[in-house]
Symmetry: C2
Subunit: 337 residues, 2 copies
């Protein structure tokens, strides 16, 4: 079985590829498990070295919208035997606020082009679409309940959130028309992300743990009482794979579900870091409100629940300590936990 991952060289995309390679097989939509023979990583950057050296990995480097232009060079036409596509590629929230055209191109036009490319195949592939908690939004006009569920009215307050909601709707219609099988899921904020900061307004939810563990100071741009829902990278990838493996019957409606996430305050995150990594590491944190970030984050939901996903057996992380320990085990084997 061949799988395509757009954004496959990114943080979540490459972890998804590693996890799939390690598990070796996949049961698409509840069917009999098949061995994974090839994973195509489509991204603007080359595959990470560890992935590139696996014989089952192919790397397609380029701009996704260009790769999805019509004709024989179309990415999907060249991999027309792919049964499953994880559409993870996106411009992130902060980038999309700063550069409207970038977001419309990367999140809107490219998602539409991907779906058109799938339709042109005529093979009805399964498409996982990485939507986001950012489809929910709060303004003076739209308060919402403290607890957000799958069927809460999305009122996105960022271009990124609008573009993700549009992607969910396109996915549902392309599935209803029989062009694809749709698996759309709203990722919670992924923490702790490894690597370097990206342009996401939510980046500090990772940076405030990752940077101090490297001995680097980190400034938290929102108030300690800010409540937010997080999922670890491994938990997020488990949820994504569970979506792809769920049967049509278990999945239910064609619309997006919320992936499991654990709600907590930023203060609790900082306390968790102190508890696990010590006073000295915790002392590298400082607070300085950034109005632009705080404005975006204050419009996001706080407690994101996931009744549909949990009915299928998916679970949030057990604790923030588990989230921090997962990061330390991966990136800081020198730290005893």
């Amino acid at each position: 079985m061949k799988i395509i991952i757009t954004g496959g060289a990114g943080f979540v995309g490459s972890l998804l590829a590693r996890t799939l390679l390690a598990q070796g097989s996949l049961a698409i939509r509840g069917a009999v498990p098949q061995a994974i023979t090839q994973i195509v990583l489509a991204d603007r950057i080359a595959a990470p070295a560890d992935l590139a050296q696996d014989a089952r990995i192919a790397s397609e480097v380029g701009d996704l919208l260009d790769q999805l232009a019509t004709g024989a060079s179309n990415l999907l036409a060249r991999h027309s035997d792919a049964q499953l596509i994880f559409h993870m590629a996106a411009a992130v929230s902060g980038e999309c606020e700063a550069n409207f055209d970038l977001g419309m191109r990367s999140n809107y036009a490219a998602t539409h082009a991907l779906l058109e490319s799938c339709r042109a195949l005529g093979t009805r592939p399964t498409v996982f679409f990485a939507s986001s908690i950012a489809v929910f939004g709060r303004t003076v006009h739209h308060s919402f309940p403290d607890e957000i569920v799958d069927t809460t009215l999305p009122t996105p307050q960022t271009s990124y959130g609008i573009q993700k909601l549009i992607g969910e709707q396109l996915m549902a219609d392309y599935a209803r028309k029989g062009f694809i099988y749709a698996r759309s899921a709203r990722l919670a904020t992924v923490s702790v992300r490894g690597g370097k900061p990206n342009g996401a307004a939510s980046g500090f939810f990772s940076g405030m743990i990752r940077e101090p563990l490297k001995g680097i100071e980190s400034v938290i741009p929102v108030s300690p009482e800010t409540v937010h829902s997080l999922a670890s990278p491994a938990n997020t990838v488990r949820g994504i794979i569970a979506c792809a493996q769920s049967s049509d019957e278990a999945w239910g409606p064609l619309t997006a579900l919320n992936l499991p996430a654990l709600p907590m305050t930023v203060c609790e995150m900082a306390e968790g870091l102190k508890r696990i990594a010590g006073e000295k590491t915790h002392a590298l944190l400082s607070w300085q409100i950034d109005p632009a970030i705080e404005r975006i984050v204050s419009g996001w939901p706080t407690r994101m629940l996931s009744p549909r996903a949990q009915a299928m057996g998916m679970k949030p992380n057990a604790s923030f300590d588990e989230i921090v320990r997962e990061h330390i085990a991966q990136y800081h084997p020198e730290i005893a936990i």
Copy 2:
């Protein structure tokens, strides 16, 4: 003041133009009323004769997406002094189910191109977007309350409904970014439409009144107990103009509101026709369930409420009799009512 109406030669678009010409001036978004000096009707067909002979009417005949191609020939660039655009042009629900590409082009690509054209102007025009009750949908997975309000979760079950919901979201983001002022409103089913049947699945809600009054038999394709919410053409146009005239403060959120509509059963409609036009006219009605139409209509909401619009003073028709009488007064002056 110059106004553009896309779909301006269509049934609702041309009635909107006639109503605006008759009223002579408009107070855009609560500002001081200005005289209407020109109304540009952009449509695939020429303006109706009565409109074409008014000196204030200009007709732009062509495919809307072609008219919105970038460059100096762009419709909006040639009318860059337009302060208000009513975006009424659309492929209708039945057409979009039968021809997916037509819907994506007419409802999705053209709406996006219109908003990009507005953005390119740099003048922040006011845009009214005609969304639809079809953004709401019912499936085995999505029941909804008997009464639909502005903030009910949209779960469209047709390509047309999906494309209208996407249009609402694009409108909200282009407004949030300051490229336009947004007025998006969901039209209820318009009845009684004059003229010929169109490709809308809801067409029989007009045909079952219009055709018998012409002495022509009409087949009703759904069960008599079907509940649906209607607005007369004049009531719909009053609502559209009220949206354009509402101040930003009165309008509130950037998202779409429901226009006022009157719920009734198809049986009550047939009885109303008998009461007003007599037994002989009523006898031209017959019932024959069309499963394709019934499937689409059964997924639509029944009782559409409009708390936001009504808080601004808009009202539904007082009765179905009022709706039928409006049609007779316009199209059948020979019938005494």
